[in-house]
């Protein structure tokens, strides 16, 4: 049985109690995106500024459980000041970490072995995630995976919207 300490690592509780980059950037100019977890009603607001291909600033608003809040806080710290391409890689890696075990859990549509290995190879190495690796234990609690990925999906949407804006501006 997965223990609570797998889920609630000290880093997670720390980010939950003192969230980083809390608030909202004035929008515009910042890109503002809202994310919802329809299962539990949690809402997250990500505001971000992209300058010269870099996430120059990011803030997190909204409410949620310790997992969604700490994941958002850890995310904001990890992506702030990073080039958008790197941030996209990080999103992919993080979501890979969140889904690999999910897909091997009983009750999920079992993918064939090759598929699972492919996902595993694509997982890159979890060490590259730094503090974010603390959220790895969440996969043992399948209902909480959506809590952990909420802010990341919202950020991905924000990046898409920011990019389509710059494209249409430069077109």
């Amino acid at each position: 049985m997965a223990g609570l300490e797998d889920l609630y690592r000290e880093i997670i509780l720390d980010h939950y109690r003192s969230p980083r980059n809390r608030g909202e950037l004035p929008s515009p100019p910042a890109q503002r995106v809202e994310g919802f977890n329809p299962l539990c009603g949690d809402e997250i607001v990500v505001t971000l500024e992209v300058t010269d291909g870099t996430v120059s600033d990011i803030k997190i608003g909204g409410t949620g459980c310790s997992i969604s809040q700490s994941s958002a806080s850890l995310m904001s710290a990890a992506v702030k000041g990073k080039p958008v391409t790197e941030v996209r890689d990080l999103i992919r890696t993080f979501k890979g970490m969140m889904s690999i075990h999910e897909s091997t859990l009983p009750g999920k549509d079992s993918q064939d072995e090759d598929d699972i290995e492919a996902t595993e190879a694509q997982l890159l190495d979890v060490d590259s995630l730094g503090e974010l690796a603390a959220l790895q234990g969440v996969v043992k609690f399948p209902v909480r995976i959506k809590c952990a990925t909420l802010s990341w999906n919202t950020l991905a949407q924000g990046l898409d919207e920011a990019e389509s804006k710059t494209e249409s501006a430069s077109a």
């Binding site: 609570l4 809402e43 949620g64 809040q69």
Partner: protein
């Protein structure tokens, strides 16, 4: 241990708990403390056995075969219908009890048949702020299609409906949708009083009995509503079957809901002739085994007595509200009416500023099953100013010792988050 035997209310809880195999399970090394019956209740052996016995000895499709077991299956299926009808006091159970998939489907049936027949552009319907999505979304879907407007009966800070303005609100309304008991607040609504005002204004009343029918004596001949929907799985029965009761005179002129087998008298290339009540609303092979299970659940509840069950749940709710208030003081906020006689055994609460997800996760470590989330009542959540609540809910098999376990586990939750 106080409360295990609630003899005062004629309920030998310790003995009846033995009827529920799931309650003997362990979760995470602890005996299970099941406090989520408002979501789905556990089933006694009597229900499980009745279903298995039917499957092993009698199963055949109903209303079709002339051979022995088919006839017996039909007989038992229809007997279950009548038993459920008697359980809620239906004047004409053999015609007025429609089997559906669940309460949700029953409410959709009303929206799609009565609603499509009687509601036209510009018409209004009246709902309450505490409805489950099952009694909101079908009306919103119809409102969009038919250009209807929806009005809302507001609630006060104790989670009771504000009815001072009811006559004005109901004026010109064709349908009133109201839950008998809130699945979040536990509030018991005065369905009869509301129905009187609604009927005087010419409106039809659709009641959501998903939470009330399993826990309170119900008599539709005096309740006042015109339709009542509920689900078997919240009243000790199986999933996959629910009930819609409707007044014969309202159901009789309605067109069918779904089309197919069972619901017709005749089909020609040019068209079809719909069947009589209740089969007109039961297209396709019905949930037969589940109907047998529901019949057994009703029999079980009646043997114990709904008055005794209600008395036990009031006493348990009182104990729970007092215990939580004594142990956690201002750290806990219990939503809904303060008076346990004005509410059902459903306690939604906020504990400090710990998110309900986290509360529920830690409680699970102690074998305590409570619900966390918006409980399919998002308009109500917005009114309460929260995204989610934790919810403990009781049934006849819960004890004061379950409440103590909940309180102890909550204290651990508090310690964990520091």
């Amino acid at each position: 241990m106080a409360g295990l035997i609630d003899v005062a209310h004629g309920l030998d809880v310790e003995t009846l708990r033995k009827d529920f195999p799931l309650l003997a399970q362990e979760v995470n090394g602890h005996p299970i403390t099941y406090l989520d019956s408002a979501a789905s209740s556990q089933r006694p052996r009597q229900v499980l056995d009745a279903m298995r016995e039917y499957d092993e000895t009698t199963h055949a499709n109903v209303h079709r075969g002339v051979y022995g077991i088919a006839e017996e299956a039909t007989h038992r299926f229809e007997a279950a219908r009548v038993a459920v009808g008697r359980f809620i006091g239906a004047p004409n159970p053999a015609r007025e009890i429609l089997f559906s998939k669940n309460a949700t489907e029953g409410l959709n049936l009303v929206a799609n048949t009565w609603g499509r027949t009687h509601l036209h552009p510009g018409d209004s319907i009246l709902l309450t702020e505490m409805e489950h999505h099952a009694n909101i979304v079908p009306w919103q879907m119809l409102a969009e299609e038919r250009e209807l407007s929806i009005r809302w009966i507001p609630i006060d800070d104790d989670g009771a409906l504000i009815l001072d303005d009811l006559e004005r609100l109901v004026d010109g309304v064709k349908l009133v949708g109201i839950t008998c008991m809130s699945n979040v607040l536990g509030t018991l609504n005065p369905v009869g009083d509301i129905a009187r005002v609604a009927h005087a204004a010419g409106a039809v009343v659709v009641a959501d009995g998903a939470q009330s029918v399993p826990h309170l004596p119900t008599d539709v001949s005096t309740l006042g509503c015109d339709f009542l929907a509920f689900s078997a799985h919240k009243m000790l029965g199986p999933t996959g079957i629910g009930v819609l009761w409707g007044r014969d005179e309202l159901l009789t002129p309605l067109p069918p809901f779904l089309g197919g087998g069972e619901m017709i008298l005749d089909v020609r290339k040019e068209g079809f002739t719909p069947n009589d009540l209740p089969w007109r609303f039961e297209a396709g092979t019905p949930p037969i085994t589940e109907a047998i299970g529901l019949g057994a659940a009703v029999e079980y509840l009646q043997a114990i007595g709904m008055e005794s069950i209600r008395a036990h749940e009031i006493s348990l709710t009182t104990y729970a509200m007092n215990t939580l208030a004594e142990r956690f003081g201002d750290d806990i906020r219990i939503f809904g009416p303060k008076d346990p006689t004005q509410r059902g055994g459903v306690l939604s609460f906020a504990y400090r500023d710990i998110h309900p997800h986290d509360v529920s996760q830690i409680l699970d470590q102690y074998g305590v099953c409570v619900r966390a989330g918006h409980h399919c009542a998002k308009p109500l959540m917005r009114r309460l100013g929260v995204n989610a609540t934790a919810r403990a809910s009781f049934a006849l098999y819960n004890t004061e010792s379950d409440v103590d376990t909940l309180a102890n586990a909550l204290a651990e939750t508090g310690a964990f988050f520091g």
